[in-house]
Symmetry: C2
Subunit: 305 residues, 2 copies
C-alpha cells in the first residue's frame, strides 16, 4: 500500500543552542515522506522553485519516494528561518519567505488518486480540501495544521477536520482551536467536530491519542542530546502513517503500535540537524528503539492487595 503526502518542501535556516543550519533541506512533506519511506512507498506532492538543488530531489528518490508530484515552478523555494532556545519544545519563527508556496495548487498525478493513505501536512486548509476532492477512496486520511490557519481560516479548517480520520495537532494548538484550557476537554471538542481520532503532540512529553471512548498516552523517548526539533512532528506523522500503510491494521492496537513507531522516528530525527539523522538511519535501529520504548513504559498488571 502506498501513501500520498501533500505539504511543503523547503529550505530551513535553524539555530539551536547546539549549532546552526543554513539553507538546509526542510519542509513538512520532506520530513514526512523520508520517515514514512522506512515502512512503505510514498508519493509526494509539493512545490519548489528554480533554486532547489537536484541533489535534494535525488536524496528523496534514493529513499524510493515518488517525486512525480513535486512541481518545480519559476521563483524561489519556500524558506523558513527559526530559532530554538533551551526550551526545545517551542520554535521562534524569525522569518517566513513563502515564495513559490503562494502559487501552490496541489495537483495529484493520476497515479496518486487511488492512494489508500493520504497525509495532508500543514498547508492552507482550502488546499487540503482540494486534495481531498482529488483522491477517490482512501482508507485513511490524516491531517496536520498550525496556529496560523486556526486563527485565519477556522471555518475551512473545521470542514477539513470533519472529513479526515485522524488529526495530528500540537497541544497548544488544540487549546487555541477550542478555547479550552483543559486538554481532555479540548480533545473531546475537536472529536465532536467529526474527526474520529485525534493525536495531540506535546513535544518532549510525547503524545496523547483520543477517540470518542479511549485515550492512549505515549511518552517521548528521553534523549540526552536533542540537537534540532525541526520536523519532529512530521517525522512522527510519517512513522505513524508509514507503519499503518505497511500493516493495514487500523484497529486500536494497530494504531497504538504505529504511534510508537512515529515516536521512534521523531526521536531519531531530533538527534541531528535537518534530515541528517534520517540519512544514516537503519531499520534495525528503529526496531531496537521500539523495544526500548516497550521497556521504558512497561509495568506490571495489578495484583490485589
Amino acid at each position: 500500500m502506498s501513501i500520498v503526502v501533500v505539504g511543503t518542501v523547503a529550505f530551513d535556516t535553524v539555530e539551536t543552542p547546539f549549532g546552526k543550519g543554513e539553507n538546509v533541506l526542510g519542509g513538512s512533506a520532506t520530513y514526512f515522506s523520508t520517515s514514512a519511506s522506512f515502512f512503505t512507498d510514498v508519493s509526494l506532492v509539493a512545490v519548489v522553485g528554480e533554486d532547489f538543488p537536484q541533489e535534494h530531489v535525488q536524496f528523496l528518490q534514493s529513499r524510493d519516494i515518488d517525486t512525480a508530484g513535486l512541481q518545480r515552478i519559476p521563483g524561489k523555494t519556500f524558506h523558513w528561518t527559526g530559532k530554538y532556545g533551551y526550551d526545545l519544545n517551542e520554535a521562534q519563527t524569525l522569518d517566513t519567505q513563502l515564495n513559490v508556496l503562494t502559487e501552490f495548487r496541489p495537483n495529484l498525478p493520476e497515479s496518486y488518486r487511488d492512494a489508500e493513505y493520504v497525509f495532508l501536512a500543514n498547508i492552507d486548509p482550502d488546499l487540503q480540501m482540494d486534495v481531498l476532492d482529488q483522491v477517490r477512496a482512501p482508507k485513511l486520511v490524516a491531517c496536520d495544521t498550525m496556529n496560523f490557519w486556526i486563527s485565519s481560516k477556522p471555518e475551512s479548517l473545521k470542514k477539513v477536520l470533519q472529513k479526515v480520520d485522524l488529526v495530528v495537532i500540537n497541544e497548544g494548538e488544540a487549546r487555541q482551536f477550542t478555547g479550552e484550557a483543559n486538554l481532555v476537554k479540548a480533545a473531546r471538542s475537536i472529536i465532536s467536530l467529526g474527526c474520529k481520532r485525534l493525536v495531540v503532540k506535546r513535544g518532549e512529553y510525547g503524545v496523547l491519542m483520543f477517540t470518542k471512548d479511549s485515550v492512549f498516552a505515549a511518552p517521548a523517548y528521553p534523549l540526552e542530546q536533542v540537537f534540532d526539533p525541526t520536523g519532529a512532528g512530521d517525522t512522527f506523522a510519517g512513522g505513524l502513517m508509514g507503519y499503518l500503510a505497511n500493516t493495514g491494521d487500523l484497529s486500536e492496537d494497530g494504531i497504538r503500535q504505529a504511534i510508537i513507531f512515529g515516536s521512534v522516528m521523531a526521536s531519531f530525527n531530533v538527534e541531528d540537524f535537518s534530515l541528517e539523522r534520517m540519512k544514516r538511519l537503519e531499520y534495525r535501529e528503529i526496531e531496537a528503539r521500539y523495544k526500548n520504548f516497550k521497556s521504558l513504559t512497561s509495568f506490571r498488571d495489578i495484583e490485589p492487595l
Copy 2:
C-alpha cells in the same frame, strides 16, 4: 511495615480558576500520610500551632495515621497562600507565613525510630539530615525538596541526596539544581551525587524515574476536571511509598508498580480542593484507576515487518 513521614501540616489558602479554599487543611506530611494510609500504617512527624483544630487531627487519626509525632507548640500554624492560573502545572506563591515552622525540630518518638520506610518531605535539608540520624536501619529512605532549598542550602541538600535511596523532585528543580537544560543529563548528574533512584515529577505530563541504567516513563492520568493541584506531588509520593511499604518489593518492577499507584493517588487528589477527594476515596476506585492506567499506556510488542 510502616512509614514515617516528616514534613509540614499546614493551612492553605488556594485559588484556582475553579474556586477558592480558605484556611483549608494542607501541608506535605498531611497529603503524604493520607495517601499512604490507603496502603500501609503511617506515622507522622510535624508541628502545628495552638490554632490547629482538633477535627483535622481526628481526620488523620480516622485514617489510622499515628499522630504521636505531631507536636503542638505555642504560636500559629504554618500558612501557605497560593494561586494557580489555567496552567495548573505551576503555583504562584502569594504569601508564606512560616509561624511555628521556624521552631520545628523533628524529634522522632522512640517507637518511630525502627521505621523501615522514611519519607523526608520538603523541609530544610539540615532537618532532613537530623531525621536521618534518628532512624536506625531503614529499608528505604526517600526525600523531596524545593527550589528554595536548592538555592539557599545546596551543600546541605547534596549531603541528604547522598544518603537517600530515592529522590522525588520537580522537573524545573532538577534543571535548576544541576544547571542542565536537558532533563536526562540533569537526572544523570543528580544520580552521580549518590542517590540510587530519581523520580522527576512533570505535573500533567507524569513522571520519569531514572536509575543509573534504566528509565521508566509514566503519564499523568488525563482528567477532564482538575480543580486544585495542591498536594499532588506529596499525594503521589504517599501512594508510591505506601505501596512499597505494603509489598516490600523493591525490585525495578515493584517500584514501577508503586509509581503507578502514586500517579493514581495524585490523579484523585487534584479532582477536588484540599483533601476532600481523599476523604471520600475508596480502595476499589484506586484499583479501577490502576487498571485504567494499564489500558492508557498499553501497546503491542514489536512484530518484525
